[in-house]
Amino acid sequence: MGQIIVEFLQNTGFAAMTWQQLVMIIVSCILLYLAIGRGFEPLLLVPIAFGMLLTNLPLAGVMDYPDTSLQFQAIQTQEAAINAQNGLFNARYITNIPGGLIHYLYQGNKLGIFPPLIFLGVGAMTDFGPLIANPKSLLLGAAAQFGIFFTFLGAILLGFDAQAASAIGIIGGADGPTAIFLTTQLKPELLGPIAVAAYSYMALVPIIQPPIMKALTTEKERQIVMKQLRVVSKKEKIVFPILVTILVSLLLPSAATLIGMLMLGNLFKESGVTDRLSKTATNELINIVTIFLGVSVGATAKAEYFLVSETLKIIVLGIVAFGVGTGSGVVLAKVLNKFLKDPINPLMGAAGVSAVPMAARVASKVGQEANPSNFLLMHAMGPNVAGVIGSAVAAGVLLALFG
């Protein structure tokens, strides 16, 4: 009996725990505190942190592979023999012992299914009106992606290969689903740190961006008032998603999935005749996918893969990407102002990193500090949604180059 008890104790998580797992459990509790106690992106950080917690509980096996077999059927007909010579066998794939729950949930990320479904929901929540009213916003949305490629270069020089560098750079796109999509396609083993960094920095937009914005602009520039946006017709809003899908996918086929789903969601919303689908895309579907995606993304942050020096580099490079993106947006806005009749408030450039709609709100708030009567939110939404398109395009470019 004593022996059995000893055996049992040896099989508890306490006996099997490494200090790295302990550290990760503490990190996940800190993330839970930030999400719940401080309100940082709770809808994503709670599932992510909980997934991180579960995956680092020793022996719990929530990410375990299943034990599987192949059962070949005996070859008994001439037809079967001919097929066999051509490599075609009648066979059945059998699960002997099921894998961990999160192993299965994770397939939605691994196979690239969840991020586009999130985009479907995001598209159905997004109003591209401010962008259509002021298409110049697209330039700011392009400029803000510079952080991605700057960081790519840095990561290459720090010794990452091109796929890893791409995945690290995309943190600067400030777009969770895009970061996860690209990373699972190019460098799945880095998904944990990249997803955690991406969502953390998105949550920290109100802290990271304002100092950069103020450093690169004068008080006077921040006070620039912009004229009111024109009203965009229903027809324009319906044609826009179709047009963007066709144009961007033809120019950059690797961006078709993300852009296509974003625009399909938007079409559900704007068409006015598919409200049922739009409602489902923005509620149940995105919520279910968010839970599964969040938990399984967090579960990729296993101690043995997460607590390595690369993670630290990724975290540092990530914030560089974020900062450079913010700055390059602001700078381009200032450059554009030398050529434009109606000047752009350069703060709008910072909204181009995406992180919808947080970055737009931050930009508008900083603007109002300089000039309390200046309402810039709608103007900021243009570059903001352009930034979503921009980082999906950037992901497409990286996929095309290194996929």
Binding site: L131, I132, P135, K136, L138, L139, G141, A142, Q145, F146, I148, F149, F150, F152, L153, I156, L157, G159, F160, D161, A162, Q163, A165, S233, K234, K235, E236, I238, V239, F240, L243, V244, L247, V248, L251, L252, G272, V273, D275, R276, K279, A386, I389, G390, V393, A394, V397, L398, L401, F402
Partner: protein, 130 residues
């Protein structure tokens, strides 16, 4: 080594590249990628401008008509009747009169698209799906 090979090797075998080669390759990739992003979004800018112009010329009320019609179909009268019944009886109670003496004729609902949708119920669903 030409640039195309360099980019190729950056993703397959970066360890074999010198620091200088990495820098060159990284710079090329950065510039190339940024240019492509810029070109794509600038083309999009032109296209959106074009779209706006074309639609402005042809702008008719056709689409709006369809949409309006759609919305109107969704509004359920039963719903308003419920509200009217509730309110009438509340008022009646508070005034001490019977419900049948009060007729609430016309309740204008603002902003009713979303709730109406939710209440459109089985009939509307069958109409559309299947």
């Amino acid at each position: 080594m030409d640039l195309s090979t360099l980019l190729e090797r950056m993703s397959t075998d970066i360890a074999s590249l010198s620091w200088m080669e990495r820098l060159t390759g990284g710079l090329v990739a950065t510039v190339l990628a940024m240019v492509i992003v810029a070109v794509v979004l600038i083309l999009l800018l032109f296209t959106v401008n074009l779209m706006t112009k074309m639609l402005a010329e042809k702008e008719t009320v056709k689409v709006n008509e369809v949409v309006t019609q759609q919305v109107e179909e969704v509004v359920e009268e039963a719903d308003d009747k419920e509200l009217i019944a509730v309110i009438s009886s509340a008022i009646a109670e508070s005034l001490g009169t019977s419900t049948s003496n009060i007729i609430v004729r016309n309740i204008i609902r603002t902003n009713s698209v979303d709730p109406a949708w939710a209440k459109a119920g089985r009939i509307e669903q069958m109409k559309n799906i299947h």
